[in-house]
């Protein structure tokens, strides 16, 4: 889908982010210091940079100044939620700002928002016989168009964008229906059943015991 550069000096957090990026189908590169970022981006273009602010050598703000001419979207990751830091980040052109500790789903959602804003979110998703075209909101199975309701398509998009990650029914409601939807979690079950039937994805969309649903795709 997109190629993302993760700049984070804490090995565990760097691994955590990249493992999740791999799960939802992004490719990535890792950097552990600020000074190596510019060189890496020159060699290999990235669609997005996830940038820690406190880095050894050159800090996140310095990196932003260095890579500003490349016009690559940046999401800052930091443990400090001082307003002045946030303002400084946005002034330097950050697209978003996420504070540790964060939930992985939140990070992925923000990544998708930024990528979509920059039209890199991945226009087409193909898995087996199913082909999903996001710009046209079209779904084809075996080259034949399938009719999905608007809500079913939203749900499908959420599942695809967070594939390989289990999503609770509440989370799905929040992501596909919106925060203020006052519906029953059984609404989700009904729509999932519809999706499975229409796409032939009885096996792909797994019910995770006690948790929710997960779209499983080979990485």
């Amino acid at each position: 889908m997109a190629h993302i550069l993760v700049v984070e000096d804490e090995q565990p957090i760097n691994d955590l982010i990249t493992m999740n990026l791999k799960l939802v189908g992004h490719t990535y590169s890792k950097a552990y210091t600020g000074s190596e970022v510019a060189g890496m981006l020159e060699k290999e273009r990235a669609d997005l940079v996830l940038l820690d602010v406190m880095l050894p050598g050159l800090d996140g703000f310095g990196v932003m100044q260095q890579i500003a001419p490349l016009q690559i979207p940046v999401i800052l990751i930091t443990a400090r939620n001082a307003l002045s830091d946030r303002i400084r980040g946005f002034e330097l052109g950050a697209d978003d700002y996420i504070i540790k500790p964060f939930e992985i789903l939140e990070l992925l959602a923000r990544i998708n928002v930024v990528l979509r804003r920059n039209e890199q979110a991945g226009a087409v998703f193909i898995c087996g016989e199913v082909e999903v075209r996001f710009p046209e909101r079209q779904v084809r199975v075996d080259q034949l168009p399938v009719d999905l309701t608007a809500r079913e398509f939203e749900l499908l998009e959420v599942l695809i964008r967070n594939r390989n990650i289990a999503l609770s029914r509440e989370k799905l409601l929040e992501l596909a229906w919106g925060y203020d939807f006052a519906g029953d979690t059984r609404t989700v079950d009904v729509h999932i059943r519809q999706l499975r039937k229409k796409l032939g994805w009885e096996e792909r969309i797994k019910t995770v015991f006690k948790l929710g649903y997960r779209l499983e795709v080979q990485v």
Binding site: D9, L16, A79, F102, E103, V208
Partner: protein, 463 residues
């Protein structure tokens, strides 16, 4: 009403009142004196005239001429005409009947003028001595000049009042403005200080009370400024500490939460599952260490120590044992050198002190260099010293080195250190021993840290 308004009004009113009262009194006295001298003069003149007329009459009688009224009138007339030139009117009465001047109907206009001036005419009447008791001479003198003079003086006095009043007002205004200038200056400065500009001072160099006030005020402002900057510095230190603590807590929490989420909800292979589990474990250990260090700090602060004789060689061996693996892993050498057998202290805490310092030294040192553990006596105290020839500290780093959570590395990277509690723990340990800690460091040449402890042959410090 402002202070200088009050002073101005009070001085003006008091001054004019005093001036007026004294001038009025002086005028009254002068009037009285003038009147006295005038009446004395009148009395003596009258006496003179009376005597002259008396002698005249005597001589006339001696010549045997009888004193009929016509003669009397003519005598009186001759005197009267002479004295009229001097502004003196004479009247001669015989048994109460006016003989001179002769009444005539045509002089009524003159009478009126005379009546109008009546009050300003001084009249003295006295009978002649015997044998002319039936004659009476009245002496009339016009003293309107005196009145006019008094009138003139009054007018002049009013005029002076009109001139002096405004003049005084202007002069007083200028004087009081000048005198109360320091007050205004003080008030303006206080206002700017009240608005938060603590660096402002009263620029006043006088030796009077205002100068003293300004001097003391400036002293106060300096103290306040110092306090405010101390407070600001403390707030900054605290904020930095909280920021650093937040980083130390948030970083491992992020990993723990993320990997736990990954394990419970993601479709990942076994290898990744193991990796996630290991990370959760290592980050939990990291949080645990942080929690224990914080606990140690708090316990040290609240618990009294039991000091005993600590064998230095054993102490060094314990510390070296704990860190030996890490020292060899980093390609370093550890050199122990002790010239004192024992010190007073708590063996566990002193070992922890040394271990913390050795860990710092390992992080600062390049492979191949040596870390020295030294113990020697100095000025009756036992010194334990940890010396490295590593990267050293700048002055700013030296100053803040003992601050909790302070890390010389602004990224607080795990690769080059821990939470930044080591040196604050060391300082707490030293404080619990009532011992001094000295830090010496030169950038690029290395760092040495010493603790000055009591030697066993000295009296143990009472804690």
């Amino acid at each position: 009403m402002k202070f200088w308004h009050k002073i101005l009004l009070a001085v003006l009113v008091l001054f004019i009142a005093a001036l007026d009262v004294s001038v009025v009194m002086v005028m009254k006295k002068s009037w009285q004196l003038n009147m006295d001298s005038e009446s004395k003069r009148a009395a003596s003149e009258q006496l003179l005239i009376t005597n002259n007329i008396y002698e005249n009459l005597d001589s006339i009688q001696a010549r045997g001429v009888s004193l009929d009224p016509a003669l009397l009138v003519s005598v009186a007339k001759s005197y009267g005409q002479y004295y009229r030139k001097q502004g003196i009117e004479l009247e001669l009465r015989e048994n109460g009947l006016l003989l001179y001047p002769v009444q005539d109907g045509g002089s009524s206009g003159q009478e009126e003028v005379r009546a109008a001036q009546e009050e300003h005419i001084m009249t003295l009447a006295m009978p002649f001595p015997a044998p002319y008791e039936h004659l009476e001479l009245a002496y009339k003198r016009d003293i309107s000049g005196l009145y006019a003079q008094q009138e003139e003086l009054n007018r002049f006095f009013v005029m002076i009042n009109w001139i002096v009043g405004p003049l005084l007002l202007v002069l007083l205004y200028l004087l009081i403005r000048q005198l109360t200038k320091p007050l205004k200056l003080l008030s303006e400065t206080t206002k700017t200080i009240a608005e938060g500009d603590y660096s402002n001072r009263v620029k006043l160099n006088s030796r009077d009370e205002f100068g003293e006030l300004a001097f003391n005020f400036n002293k106060m402002a300096a103290v306040i400024e110092q306090r405010m900057s101390d407070l600001a510095g403390m707030a900054e230190d605290r904020q930095r500490m909280v920021d650093n603590l937040a980083h130390e807590l948030r970083t491992p929490l992020t990993s723990m939460q993320g990997f736990a989420e990954l394990l419970t909800s993601a479709n990942i292979g076994q290898e990744d599952q193991i990796k996630a589990g290991q990370y959760i474990l290592s980050e939990t250990m990291r949080l645990k260490n942080l929690a224990f260090k914080l606990l140690d700090l708090s316990v040290l602060r609240h618990q009294p120590l039991l000091l005993a004789e600590v064998d230095v060689a054993t102490l060094f061996e314990t510390a070296a044992q704990t860190e030996r693996q890490r020292i060899t892993d980093n390609g370093l050498l550890l050199h122990l050198d002790s010239s004192i057998p024992a010190v007073w202290g708590d063996a566990d805490l002193l070992a922890s002190f040394l271990v913390n310092l050795i860990e710092n030294a390992i992080l600062a040192s390049q492979p191949g260099s040596t870390i020295r553990l030294l113990a020697y006596p100095q000025d009756g105290e036992g010194v334990l010293e940890v010396q490295d020839s590593g990267s050293g500290m700048t002055e700013e780093q030296r100053r803040r080195a003992f601050e909790p959570f302070y890390r010389a590395d602004p990224s607080r990277s795990r690769a080059y250190g821990n939470a930044g509690l080591g040196l604050s723990l060391c300082r707490q340990i030293a404080e619990a021993h009532q011992a001094r800690v000295e830090l010496q460091s030169v950038p690029g040449q290395g760092t040495s840290i010493r603790i000055f402890l009591q030697l066993p042959n000295n009296c143990p410090p009472t804690l």
